[in-house]
């Protein structure tokens, strides 16, 4: 199923993102980031439904929580779509 992963620098940062998104009415969940998506080793990511990225990014920006990197999961693979 299509979804977005927003990479976070730490589990606490991911939790701040989750808290901000939930306050904005956007449902999301925290996951361990797949190893091949991270340059620095272990990381966490916030997973969003495909239609939720557009409202999520400005909500995160307003809270000074800019994502490290953003990936789209589509047709069984991740593709970076921005940061």
């Amino acid at each position: 199923m299509e979804h977005y992963l927003i990479l976070a620098r730490s589990v606490t940062y991911a939790q701040r993102m989750q808290s901000t998104l939930e306050r904005a009415g956007i449902r999301c969940a925290i996951f361990r980031a797949p190893r091949d998506l991270t340059d620095l080793g272990c990381a966490y990511a916030v997973r969003l439904a495909a239609g939720d990225l557009a409202p999520a990014l400005p909500a995160l920006h307003r809270a000074s929580l800019d994502p490290v990197r953003v990936f789209l999961f589509q047709r069984g693979a991740y593709r970076e779509v921005g940061s």
Partner: protein
């Protein structure tokens, strides 16, 4: 036991604290170390703890809340982040060894802003004389652990802001009792234990860090983040939290902080001061007892020191302990405070209360004192 040593650690805790510790022991592993349920429960608990603490102490960002093993650990990080070896620090005359020993280890040049007990205006004036360009940090406790003297940290913070000197507050005796808004104060760091006025388990502490203040690590190791990098992460809290977290402690601390927020620090302070005032006033009527308190416990919290003429405080403390009453005699790990108050030669007996003490317990303590001092 009648426990009157809460300035060391609170012994009676809210029931929710023990329940939270038990829940963590059986249901949580380590935050940031996995995506399975027990690890994520630990992460949620740690985050909720940071969030509650940031709301209680006026911080916007819970990432600036670092969980430590005690206030001493937190103070060591704060002091060693700001004061280089041989650097300059200004401290109050009522500091604990948790401040003076790290400064001694750094061979720092330390100036004491000396002032008499229970004279906050004199404390402010002393700091005003000492804070000048070139000082690496000003360090002051909010409340003296020996005398309960509430020092004017708001005024000292204002001096530090206007003179551009970083300020470290040791909130060991005030966290959970007196209001403290870190953002309004503009302090660089606020250090506190989790196991005193916040009612968490022993082995918990907190360091609140202002954004943008550089922090030095005391420990390096695993953080569950940026694992390929051999330097510690630059971001908080990971930079200062190497190794496995004390999850039972953090879960208990979360329950304790929630208790404090529900009760309200002002209400807790009001109750503690009433109990301490009752003890101070009655102790003062006993022959040969000198009580270190200002009238009405002005500028003082629920901590009262006293001495008995011709009696070693340790001997009196031991006799009270035999009767099931726990309070602390000696120098209370704060020889500088005793030197400032003129009690270094003998030390004092220190009575300190928590929200769980009662008037009945104070009466029983006073009765025991009347038997000891006929």
């Amino acid at each position: 036991m009648i426990y009157l040593d809460s300035a060391a650690t609170t012994f009676q805790k809210p029931a929710a604290v023990a329940a939270a510790v038990q829940e963590a022991l059986t249901g949580m592993t380590s935050p940031g170390r996995g995506g399975y349920r027990a690890a994520m429960r630990a992460a949620e608990t740690a985050f909720n703890c940071r969030q509650e603490l940031s709301e209680l102490f006026g911080l916007e960002n819970p990432e600036q809340v670092v969980l430590t093993s005690n206030a001493t650990h937190a103070l060591n990080i704060a002091i060693k982040s700001l004061v280089p070896p041989g650097g300059r620090a200004v401290i109050s005359g009522y500091e604990h060894n948790a401040v003076t020993r790290p400064l001694a280890a750094l061979s720092a040049r330390v100036e004491v802003a000396a002032a008499p007990l229970f004279r906050p205006q004199a404390v402010t004036e002393a700091f005003a004389r000492c804070i000048r360009p070139g000082v690496d940090a000003v360090i002051c406790n909010h409340v003296s652990n020996v005398f309960g003297f509430a020092q004017p940290v708001e005024e000292i913070a204002r001096l530090c802001r206007t003179r551009g000197v970083p300020f470290i507050i040791d909130a060991s005796q005030s966290a959970g009792v007196l209001p403290l808004d870190m953002t309004a104060l503009g302090a660089a760091f606020v250090a506190m234990p989790g196991h005193k006025g916040l009612y968490g388990p022993q082995g918990t502490g907190v360091l609140l860090c202002r954004e943008g203040v550089p922090v030095r690590t005391l420990l390096e190791g695993g953080t569950g983040s940026a694992s390929l990098q051999q330097e510690m992460p630059e971001f908080l809290p990971d930079r200062l939290e190497a190794g496995t977290h004390n999850m039972p402690g953090i879960a208990g601390l979360l329950a304790g902080v929630r208790f404090v927020r529900q009760r309200g620090p002002l209400e807790i302070c009001r109750k503690e001061r009433q109990l301490a005032l009752l003890a101070a006033e009655e102790l003062g009527t006993l022959p040969g007892v000198r009580v270190y308190a200002a009238p009405g416990l002005r500028s003082q919290t629920g901590v009262v020191s006293f001495t008995v003429e011709g009696r070693d405080p340790e001997e009196v403390g031991a006799a009270l302990a035999d009767g099931g009453i726990a309070l602390r005699a000696g120098l209370h790990c704060a020889p500088l405070a005793h030197k400032s108050a003129g009690t270094l030669a003998t030390g004092t007996l220190r009575l300190s209360v928590s929200d769980f003490n009662t008037r009945e317990e104070i009466f029983r303590f006073l009765e025991a004192m009347r038997v000891l001092i006929p």
